[in-house]
Subunit: 117 residues, 6 copies
């Protein structure tokens, strides 16, 4: 099983534990967290880029990977992905570099996976 699939399955498994213990406010927040990335005045694609840059400057690997996968699904190009990462790098500084490295590695893996399909 590749790293991307492993990430998705672990995420699914842990979300079930959260929802087992979580009461209505956690559930409401999880709903909000889906709702804000849907098409609106801004298209879903742009919103995923916004989620990506927010995740990069806050330096959360899981969040970066999640939005990287979603960007790929929304048809973000290499150039658009690179420009978004660069803005995150300039805003957040060299402390983001280890996360940026892993993000590009995952982007490459997603590209390879896409070509195999």
């Amino acid at each position: 099983m590749d790293a991307i699939t492993a990430f998705r399955e672990e995420r699914e498994r842990l979300n079930e534990i959260v929802l087992k213990y979580g009461q209505k406010d956690i559930k409401r927040f999880f709903n909000l967290d889906s709702s804000v990335y849907k098409d609106g005045a801004l298209p879903a694609k742009t919103k995923e880029l916004l989620g990506l840059v927010g995740s990069l400057v806050l330096r959360c690997d899981d969040c970066i990977l999640y939005h990287t996968i979603r960007c790929c699904e929304e048809g973000v190009t290499d150039e658009e992905f690179e420009e978004t990462m660069t803005i995150g790098l300039i805003v957040g500084g060299s402390i983001t570099i280890p996360h940026l490295r892993r993000a590009f590695k995952h982007w490459e893996e997603l590209k390879v996976k896409q070509q195999e399909e």
Copy 2:
């Protein structure tokens, strides 16, 4: 003098002090910080939204105000501004609310200023 104009003038004045002391690496960084928001695969407007969300989740009032002004100049609509702020709020949590309040206040002031011109 209104708050927006005061902000711009103070920013200009302090940048001069930075550049008086700053050597080539600071200058190179300041150039990079302009370069990444220029039109590319993504239009400048989208890049300003990316800068805005990064500034909101990192909770920097000056950076938020700067990108709010730039968003207004790039023709961002009320709806686009609101959706970007909402993503920042969900990513960054209630700790961003004081900054979000001030951002909407400045957005309102920019709108009033625009109508007067």
Copy 3:
């Protein structure tokens, strides 16, 4: 007008601007942000202490002041307030000290106000 009253009025005024522009997801988040501090398995008083320590370690003056006011309303004692601030200081380090100073100043002002009433 004292600083506490000025803070409350500005907060009220800016919330109106947020709600003027804000769509349903922002409103839902604002509702959630009230809901989680209500009496539950943990009493509202303990929840305000949790909000206070979260605000201190994330270093947001407005959030700290808001929870300081709420702690006072919930009957938190000087000793309970001090122990909560100390945990925030140890978790968050000396970078929290300027916020801790202002929090104790506001706590003192709230105590004086309470005695005058």
Copy 4:
């Protein structure tokens, strides 16, 4: 060896290396870091909840796990744990979700371990 036991042993082993190199100021800080969670005006249980919410909003997995274990030892209930996590989630936003997921997973493991004893 389960994940909780492995965490405790690694923590013990590394603390020994810190104390081998660490001079008196590090040792004083480590003492302070124990002292602030002891029973006082607030009971140790409440203080562990404060440590937990601070660790969640600052997004440190090791610190969250440590306070999760201590909360379990102090008899925190599922409902109290859930309400504390929810406050951390609302304060810190969706960027805390990966940590919140792992915290609930560890909480579940601690519950299973407790029932086996």
Copy 5:
């Protein structure tokens, strides 16, 4: 009264309020916070530069100003100050720029004050 003197006096005044409410753990932390910047294997001057860069990347204006004053007292040169700020800028990114601007402004004020004495 100039800004530097006003800062020192307010800091003194608020520290008294902290110590009025603060119990022994806060006092111990305040002692530690002085102790770590004293001459040791590294001279006090280098330690103030370390405190300065830590304050810049964590973006705390009061802490930056405090260490800027101390750097000036320890005889840090313009070039040493500038190189330290540049490292902080590269590590922490453009989000540190508003703080960097104010730091250079204060550095300039300290230089002027020094020449007047």
Copy 6:
């Protein structure tokens, strides 16, 4: 292969992926990120200590390890390393402790490696 060597090789491998996708602004930033640590008014050794404390308070394990290796190469002594870590601990608080533990573990490994050569 030991952990230090594995870290270096992975870093090298991922940097190649970054540079495959990265355009000129990312490359310029990577150059800046090397440039600021070179000998200047402050020696490279002091600059590595500045990078180390910045990385510790921002809590990035990869960045801490990188600067720990560089500190070792620059001849930083145990005492200098310990004093720098202690300043980072006091500035950044107990939330830095898991990173501080791993940093001392790596420091120990580097010392062992050095003696074997």
